[in-house]
Amino acid sequence: MSIKSNPKIVLVGNPNSGKSSLFNQLTGLNQKVGNFPGVTVDRKVGHCQLDEHARAEIIDLPGLYSLYPKSADEEIVIQSLLDPEHQDYPDVAVVVVDVSNLKRNLLLFTQVRDLGFPTVLALNMVDVATKGGLEVDLEVIKQSFGIQMVPINARTGKGIDDLKHLLGNPLMKECEPFYDMSTSADQVIEAVQNGHHFCNRYRAFQFAMHVDRIPSFQGDTRHKIIDAKYEHQFNEKALQTEDTLGRYKKIGEVIDHALHRRETTTVDWTKRLDSVLTHKVWGYAIFLGVLFLIFQGIFAWASWPMDLIDGVFGATASLLSGLLPSGMLSDLVTEGIIPGLGGILIFIPQIALLFAFIALLEESGYMSRVVFLMDKLMRPFGLNGKSVVPLISGWACAVPAIMAARNIENKRERLITIFVTPFMSCSARLPVYTILIGLVIPETYFLGIFGAQGLVMLGLYTLGVVAALGSAWFLKGRVKDKTRNFLIMEMPTYKWPRWRNVGMTILEKVKAFVLEAGRVILAISIVLWVLATYGPAEDMARAQTEWESQYADQPAISETPEAQAQLASLKLEQSYAGHLGKAIEPTISPLGYDWKIGIALLTSFAAREVFVGSLATLYSVGDSEDELGIRDRLRNEVVPETGEPRYTLALGLSLMVFYAFAMQCMSTLAVTYRETKSIFWPLAQLFFMTGIAYVSALVVYQLLV
């Protein structure tokens, strides 16, 4: 039998067994990205050339401990393994097991194997096991399970070629199950087998177990199975327990033969590190230190590459406006596209750094200690220690953060986490804060070290955390769920992070950001430029005549930059964008905003980071004389009635508070909808958050003005 030339191969395994490392080893840079706006992150897909004939599609599924899912994460795996219509239904399953914890890892392996896929066992972390004094007899494993297997080191890449070789050749498929259920489920299994044509009893059993989870299972077959389950008293809990215990018993027998222990005198680094990192004083101090380091990274270290990008784009725009023949196209490029692009690319350093930190925390094993430290503190808010991971990731971006809430087993805790995560100040708010702080907060220092600007920034982040926890507390008694909440979580050993894996994560996130979010931002910049350049014909003409009549007797002056700028701003006011902004002005003027800010706010609902780009576009329209930085341009903006600067402390703070709280991100709403499967939650987020934002901004402005 020859194999398909492009088989679908799924990687299955316990969390922390080294699956992502193996995925990176197999696919290298041939990964498809797509976990940003609107695209599912359910799957990480890549390609791997097995040999000269076969190119496999590799799919990395979320980690899980057994075929009985407890969390939304794990459900995904069940669906792709059981539903033949599922896009990720595999031709081959590679089960990755951590040899240093063989017994627990083998439970899932035997279950997947008995489903009847051609299965390969990838024995990972042999080096760790050896260090810990565990010796595995490969031959015994191979004989006992009747499968092909290969020892690998997903970290160094050892054994990967053997694995590829194995996958490139026909695999043996074992029909004999490793463990067979007792007779108590026989009638139901037969009922499933009658409706379908599989020979495999275990698969039929799992079908019956998960009949409600498999979408392609509809109509008659589904009803028959449900009826059979009812008629023959298919007790799910009892059968799951029987399956688990029965398998563990047989696995235990295999392990007794296959695993040899010897005493070692190696230092247990995990134990030593834990005594510091979970210490009652040092533990929290170090956690705070880590958070501080993250801040330091995004504010201090990221600023120089950002300035560089900013400078390059400013220079390019002026260079091009000099080179291109003046006209509409040139304006579109220099006033619409280039500032828009600059507004996207400037985020890259911060996004890269944030995801680098999060990847490091995950890779090293420290993140689970954070969960351990924080669980008790989070519980009064209706959250779980595991909520800390989405909340911290929320500093980078709420979209992946909300998806990270999938591994919270309890429905209520998960919903609350999803709901409050967007309050965490994501990296898209950062440029808004940066520009406003630079504009209205003086560069003074207290006691020589605490800069006022830094303190305000810290304050805004704190505001986000307080809002998140406060809302969680508010929701705690209001969201109903009867299922038990618990925290039963593996504490992996500490590992030195692999830079390659961290690098891949950064690359993946930045690529996704530039491609997906960037597209939205760029499109909006262009639309906005068009709206700000054109308007109803008679209004635009009126602006022109009004301006001309002012200079009718002194045409020479009309050529000065001031006069030209006046024309531009008159025209902008009459443009479509101007009309739109004017329409919402009454609603936002109590907060201190004018119609220009109104336009920027409206466009921000597509994505917050559009704010700066929008302002850049709005203020640079018609201003081709000098390419001032966006900040200087805002600083020069005055209130027409009074001649006072527009961007005062009151306005700046009001805007900052508004951005800190408001729900202004379509992608987040979309992901909340997808994760909660209900229109209620995204709408609640939109109104709740924006309502709080409006009221707080109002209070801030009215108090300060």
Binding site: Y68, S100, N101, D274, E490
Partner: protein, 77 residues
Amino acid sequence: MQDQPKNVAQLAKGESGVIAGFSDDELALKLMEMGCLPGETITINFRAPLGDPISVHVLDYNLSIRVREAATIILEP
């Protein structure tokens, strides 16, 4: 209290016991999947600074469980 079987929450730091069974059916399956099997030895590594959750050692690895969950794991006398 004397006849009541001991559970994992009552163990002190560094103490071990052998798992006999579970007092909560809902959690039992999850705990067993994670390696807390009847007959296995379970040891308390340390408690979180605020007393809860606790880190235990079972089946060659470390597991974090809340005190409330630990109390459902019954030990052999």
